[in-house]
């Protein structure tokens, strides 16, 4: 199957063309972001005198520094908790044979079908009664609760394919359940852990509606909210806006370039029948 024929060559040409067309919006984004504010030529024409001023101005005016730190804290803490709680819950759900384990598994899976909007208002009310509005804490709590079902699903699917031999060997050697979990199971599920980290990291970093609600009126903001506010104020200066958009997108894009291989492999283990 490894012949590179004329047909393969044609397909390659077509796909490269499709790829270039696909990147058209990104070209516009980058092209405008490096353009001086007084350059009013068509956005399709490549910028002749590129500048990085827009990035500096956007960074300072949008307060992106503080927003980046907030987004990073929220993402790192939420994802760490999600990985720990969902892998341990999945371990219990995949290994315990008692009836509560099946019932709890379906209980969690119901969560996949409940849209966040249903609980949006009651939860907001509860958080405000607890005096948590404006801080980062409710966001972390919400992301953990919200993302557990999907993460548990991925871990359980994977754990069910792993033979019990390793764990039995560990328990014969006298390891307790906790030791077995941390020393044997966690290393075994590493491929899915990667997927869970990436998908939840993306979700948490990207989420716009929750911080918009919970941080509004406070000095705190996350990257999406900072960008939303900034665009509202500078809507006509697209060059500045696009520079801010690139700053917001860059951290994840860079991370993605380094991990794309393991992401595909990790997802592969999640969808094997």
């Amino acid at each position: 199957m490894n012949r590179y024929t004329a047909r393969t060559g044609t397909l390659e040409g077509v796909m490269i063309l499709v790829g270039i067309l696909f990147l058209f919006p990104i070209y516009i984004l980058v092209n405008l972001s490096i353009r001086p504010l007084d350059d009013l030529s068509s956005p399709l024409v490549p910028t002749t005198n590129p500048t990085f001023d827009n990035f500096v101005n956007a960074w300072n005016q949008a307060g992106l520094g503080g927003a980046l730190i907030n987004s990073a804290i929220i993402t790192v803490v939420s994802v760490a908790l999600i990985v720990l709680l969902s892998s341990s819950a999945a371990y219990a759900l995949a290994r315990a044979t008692a009836r509560w384990s099946t019932v709890s598994f379906y209980g969690f899976m119901i969560g996949l079908l409940i849209p966040f909007q249903l609980g949006l208002i009651p939860l907001y009310k509860t958080m405000s009664q607890l005096g948590l509005l404006g801080s980062l804490l409710p966001l972390i709590i919400i992301y953990v609760g919200l993302r557990l079902p999907f993460s548990i699903f991925l871990f359980v699917q994977f754990l069910r394919q792993i033979p019990l031999d390793y764990e039995e060997a560990a328990s014969l050697d006298g390891a307790g359940v906790f030791q077995t979990f941390f020393r044997v199971v966690l290393p075994l599920v590493r491929p899915v852990t990667g997927t869970v980290i990436i998908l939840n990291g993306l979700f948490t970093w990207n989420d716009f509606l929750t911080p918009l609600l919970y941080l509004s009126g406070s000095g705190n903001q996350t990257i999406p909210v900072a960008i939303y506010t900034f665009v509202g104020e500078y809507a006509t200066q697209w060059q500045l806006v696009f520079a801010a958009l690139i700053i917001g997108a860059l951290p994840v894009l860079i991370a993605f370039f380094f991990i794309q291989k393991s992401l595909i492999q990790g997802l592969a283990s999640g969808v094997k029948g």
């Binding site: 199957m1 590179y4 390659e12 796909m15 490269i16 790829g19 919006p25 516009i28 956005p43 399709l44 709680l85 969902s86 341990s88 819950a89 219990a92 759900l93 044979t97 008692a98 009836r99 509560w100 019932v103 709890s104 969690f108 969560g111 996949l112 079908l113 409940i114 849209p115 909007q117 249903l118 609980g119 949006l120 208002i121 009651p122 939860l123 009310k125 509860t126 709590i141 548990i152 359940v177 990207n206 716009f208 509606l209 990257i223 939303y228 697209w238 806006v241 917001g248 997108a249 994840v252 894009l253 993605f256 794309q260 595909i264 997802l267 592969a268 999640g270 969808v271 094997k272 029948g273």
Partner: protein, 309 residues
């Protein structure tokens, strides 16, 4: 919470061989923290939300009264809500079908021998990792009447195709659907690519030696093996499609003339702009029913077809 000791004991007695030392009581500390977060964030607010849909609560006033199914009756007779229901269904179905079709074609093309396959995979997946609101603002600009898209169309002599993409109530919703499809086709592609890793090359080769054309090869060899990937993909895009919010809120806020309102934007507007918490909750319940019904139906259907062939 589901910890019924007698049920546990019964299970332990009826299944001795596999149950050696895994009756389950040792495992509950592992699941407890997850249950606490899940119950606090998803289950309790969800049930409360469903409860509020039977009240006239405005969100501020501590007192409110039960109004039965009044909110649902109002919803059925509210053209704006009916429009939002149709928009949500249309957006979810169109986005799901096209995302998966495009994602599948991309995956099939980039699974093979192309020299540029690695870089092209990154290219098509890239929108997934860009902030949704960045993508929404970018496309809002691309769609402006004198913006890049219309410039290109006019430049290649297709003036007739140039539109007021977000300003024309007839097409605004589909312009937004195009954003969602552009954003997430790469996500389908990655999951299909992952699924294709389990299709053995020898099997494809054998089929091809038997004289099977590309379509027959796909239908009889690849498709059955892709069943898990198809299930996951359809589920993910449907749920995403039903809940689209950012892309609409940033580009049109539901306009022009409410033509792009979805159930998500309607929930948000009624709750946080109009102070109609009870009504907003009823809309959220309708959204939940849609997601649940579509989710379960498609899951069972795909499962059955995957097993049958």
């Amino acid at each position: 919470m589901q910890n019924n000791p007698s049920a546990q004991a019964a299970t332990g007695l009826t299944r001795p061989p596999r149950a050696r030392a895994r009756r389950g009581s040792r495992y509950w500390p592992f699941i407890l923290p997850a249950v606490v977060f899940y119950v606090f964030v998803v289950l309790v607010p969800g049930i409360q939300g469903a409860g509020f849909s039977f009240t006239d609560w405005d969100g501020l006033n501590p007192s409110f009264s039960f109004v039965g199914i009044d909110n649902y009756i109002r919803l059925a007779g509210d053209p704006q809500a009916v429009r939002a229901v149709l928009n949500t269904l249309g957006l979810a179905v169109v986005a799901t079908v096209l995302e998966n079709l495009i994602g599948l074609l991309l995956a099939l093309a980039l699974n093979g021998r192309l020299k540029s396959r690695h870089i092209l995979r990154v290219v098509f997946f890239a929108p997934v990792v860009i902030l949704t609101i960045v993508i929404a603002f970018l496309w809002q600009y691309i769609y402006t009447p004198d913006g890049p898209l219309n410039s290109v169309l006019r430049g290649i002599g297709l003036d007739g195709l140039a539109q007021n993409w977000l300003g024309d109530p007839k097409i605004a919703l589909w312009s937004i659907a195009a954003i969602v499809i552009w954003q997430f086709s790469g996500y389908s592609m990655i999951i299909f690519l992952a699924g294709l890793q389990s299709v053995p090359a020898e099997q494809l080769e054998a089929a091809s030696l038997d004289g099977a054309g590309p379509f027959a090869r796909f239908w009889y060899v690849v498709r059955p093996l892709l069943a898990p990937a198809i299930t996951v993909n359809l589920m993910l895009s449907l749920i995403r499609g039903f809940m689209v919010f950012d892309q609409i809120w940033v580009t049109t806020q539901g306009g022009p003339a409410q033509s792009t309102d979805s159930l998500s934007t309607l929930v948000y507007r009624n709750a946080f702009q109009y102070g109609e918490l009870g009504y907003s909750a009823a809309i959220a319940v309708v959204l939940t029913v849609f997601v649940a019904v579509f989710g379960i139906v498609q899951y069972r259907y795909v499962l059955r077809s995957g097993v049958a062939k």
